[in-house]
């Protein structure tokens, strides 16, 4: 009876809350981030909202120079409806865009003044276009969509057409021009320039045609056949009934970039590929972002097939290795621990995969399968899984000056002639430690002994080893065996002074207990400390942008994995803060961080 009431309520809820613009998200979308505007905007003004990096993108999509000083709130949008950003990719095209509610169409087109109305063959749908952006209005629902052919596919198609017409390559081959006489080079340049121009004209035409074709394909599917992500996927529909401030959806089974890893299998052994692909069926990741007093939480749930679930479930039957705790300081800017039962996971994976691989008629697969079976029969699994049990941790220890060597020039004061000499130098370096649980201390020792005989870079310091000039031929790495752990670090202080752990400076018993209760994964990051201590020079511009953003934030992020069943596993990311800012503001901070991380 309870189930009936629940289903009834859920259906009513879906009808009431499911009539929004998100119904216009095309079925090809793989990732969706949907913000519940009503909930959010009660807590934060639109003016603050539009200052975020992720809104900047939307802003650029919608506003051009002719609409200066106008903002999203002038655009006639209905903030009582969700705003959903989506992205999808097939082998041929990418589809991006967002859906939104429309409150005042006149106001909308005062701002979107670059969009021109086009005739629509879809009943009740108004279509507008501005360069590559397409705007579709279905009464109170809006969809801004861009469909573009995948670059590699476009290049492949262009090359195919280009060479089938008997053309030569429009580009210079490696060093083809290096030894040409000037006159010949000029002629060849002119010829290549013309060829290149023709090639790119062909590519542009093809791009335009493919764009039209795939855009039409998406629209027909969405508007004529009424196939949307919303209609196709009950998990997505259910997700939209959540009253959380934002929801996240990713269908990993349709994630083409992940599928690329299996391309060889798909091409050469299509039957086997389908069997392996079955493992990923239903591999959908959903998340809820919820606002609380003093924190924002991101609850992530990964669903998978029972076969894959059986492997994960075995993997998660692991006890936290208490030997990890002494090597994490109480004030560590960031740490992460990962704790799995590798042996159980191996045995379950063996049970699941061997029947699948046995179906393959390919001699190479068959031979590899034989090797796998022989390995399973002959290898001493006790020794193997004692060497690496499956527990590891990583810490970020800020930056330290590390000793390196540099070349300096010295000058003869009589002649100003100069020569080179090698001197000591110091450079800033981010300090990391990674540690594995092991019962077989003898194995790393044996390997290191061997290396030290091969190269003098490996130096035995008694209780630990130094691999000199290991990083960029400049900074050393320390290899330490202690308390059932094998540690690899560039932290000289840890190697010289804390080989048995940090003692009273190590993490508190309460923190250790929390780690123990966290399941497979646990992590912590003090945002400001990480951002301030991590040298931005090592990062690319987009990562620098993220660090810059985080430097002004207070608070911490904790990661905890939850229960793992045969069907799903959950992970909780919590962003805690103790300042007076509203949680809506912090929600957008977290959203912006995720956006900067994933863009």
């Amino acid at each position: 009876m309870k189930k009936c009431i629940f289903l009834y309520c859920a259906t009513i809820h879906a009808i009431v809350f499911g009539q929004g613009a998100e119904q216009l998200i095309p079925s090809q979308a793989v990732t969706v981030f949907s913000i519940n505007n009503t909930d959010l905007l009660q807590k934060i003004s639109v003016d603050e909202w539009i200052n975020y990096d992720f809104m900047e993108e939307i802003h650029q999509e919608l506003f051009d120079g002719s609409t200066d000083n106008k903002t999203v709130k002038d655009a006639g949008l209905d903030f009582d409806q969700r705003l959903s950003l989506f992205y999808g990719k097939t082998n041929q095209f990418e589809v991006t865009g967002f859906t939104f509610g429309v409150k005042d169409e006149n106001a909308l087109f005062k701002v979107f003044d670059d969009f021109e109305a086009l005739p629509s063959s879809f009943q009740g749908i108004k279509i507008y276009q501005s360069l590559f952006n397409n705007l579709l209005i279905d009464k109170t629902k809006g969809l801004l969509i861009r469909v573009e052919p995948v670059e590699s596919y476009l290049n492949q198609m262009t090359d195919s057409l280009w060479y089938s017409r008997g053309n030569l390559s429009p580009f210079y081959a490696m060093d083809e021009d290096q030894f040409m006489e000037e006159e010949a080079l000029e002629k060849e340049d002119a010829r290549k320039n013309l060829l290149e121009k023709n090639y790119y004209e062909l590519r542009d035409s093809l791009e335009f045609e493919l764009q039209k074709k795939y855009y039409n394909e998406v629209l027909v599917s969405l508007l004529s056949q009424r196939k949307s992500l919303y209609s196709n996927d009950s998990i997505f529909r259910e997700l939209l009934t959540h009253r959380s401030a934002g929801v996240f959806y990713m269908d990993n089974s349709r994630n083409i970039d992940r599928a690329k890893n299996l391309w060889y299998l798909k091409t050469v052994l299509p039957t086997l590929y389908l069997d392996v692909q079955e493992l990923y069926d239903g591999n959908i990741i959903t998340g809820d972002l919820t606002l609380h007093e003093g924190s924002v939480e991101f609850d992530l749930k990964a669903r998978y097939s029972e076969a894959l679930g059986s492997i994960y479930a075995e993997m998660n039957h692991a006890k936290f290795d208490a030997n990890i705790a002494p090597f994490i300081r109480a004030n560590q800017p960031a740490y992460f621990s990962y704790n799995i039962n590798l042996r159980s996971a191996y045995e379950k994976a063996y049970d699941v995969l061997v029947p699948i691989l046995s179906k393959a008629k390919d001699p190479e697969i068959s031979f590899n399968l034989l090797l796998l079976k022989l390995g399973n029969a002959l290898v001493n699994k006790d020794a193997l899984f004692d060497a690496y049990k499956g527990s590891l941790f990583m810490t970020f220890n800020g930056i330290q000056k590390v000793k390196t060597r540099k070349i300096t020039f010295f000058y003869d004061e009589q002649t100003f002639e100069y020569g080179e000499k090698e001197t000591d130098a110091e450079e800033d370096m981010p300090i990391f430690t990674i540690g594995f649980s092991t019962k077989r201390n003898d194995l790393p020792e044996m390997i290191l002994e061997h290396f030290s005989q091969v190269t003098s870079k490996f130096e035995n310091k008694g209780d630990y080893w130094v691999y000199n000039k290991a990083i960029f031929d400049a900074a050393p790495v320390f290899l330490i065996q202690a308390k059932g752990m094998f540690l690899i670090t560039n932290d000289q202080d840890l190697a010289e002074n804390h080989r048995d752990g940090y003692g009273k400076d190590a993490m508190s018993k309460r923190a250790v207990k929390s780690l123990k209760n966290s399941g497979t994964m646990a992590g912590f990051a003090n945002l400001q400390q990480v951002a301030q201590k991590f040298p931005s020079d090592f990062l690319d511009p987009s990562q620098q942008q993220l660090m810059e953003f985080l430097r002004n934030k207070t608070g911490s992020v904790t990661l905890r994995s939850g229960e793992t069943t045969l069907q799903s596993t959950s992970v909780k990311l919590k962003y805690s803060f103790n300042d007076s800012e509203k949680s809506g503001k912090h929600f957008l901070d977290l959203l912006n961080t995720l956006y900067l991380l994933t863009k």
């Binding site: 020039f409 130098a425 511009p541």
Partner: protein, 222 residues
Amino acid sequence: MKKIILLFILPVFLFSSCLEIIDDLSLNMDGSGTFKYTINLSSSKIKVNSILALDSFNGKKVPKIDEIEAKIQQFKELLKNEKGIKSVETEFNKLDFIAKIAVDFSSLDELQTGIKSVLNQLDPASKYSEDHSLWVSWDNKTLKRMIPQWVEDRIKTETQSDQELLKNGSYTCISRLPKTIQNSSNTVCKLNPAKTAAMLRVNALDLKLNPALLEHTLTLAP
């Protein structure tokens, strides 16, 4: 060609926490001589290596080590064929990031025309050969060292970041002349005891902020 420019002039300003540049010119009475240019990034090995591991940095594609080596080789081969260039030697220490070039030339004009021509061949869009400004001039009595306008412009526009990091860098300009030097227009310029060589050493950040610091004229004794 931008890679060569990046290699020889700008990237050192762009991403060096401590760089050392030595610009060494030896002149004979007939105007022939040897030009040596050395860029030393060995004290920023970790940083340079970490940048080389990236695909792009500050919006610019980061070249791979073998691409840098190939460009240096190409630069050498092209310069060798220029009029008035007697020999070109290059050396690239990819462990310590020290690049060196030594050019024997018949006249300073031919050296400068040759370099501009090679830069132009490697990057036709740059139009360096249309730039008639000089960075060294010699009239048998005076040697004038200056910064061409295009270099000054590019330093100003393309080195907006890393000001802090340039503080420890240096640019050393050495001129060796065939006769005794009577005086130098730049008071920071140091003469050797025999007064046949002059050395001007400038902080990299100061140079970025004021490229004119490097300008000086050496007048020979009559």
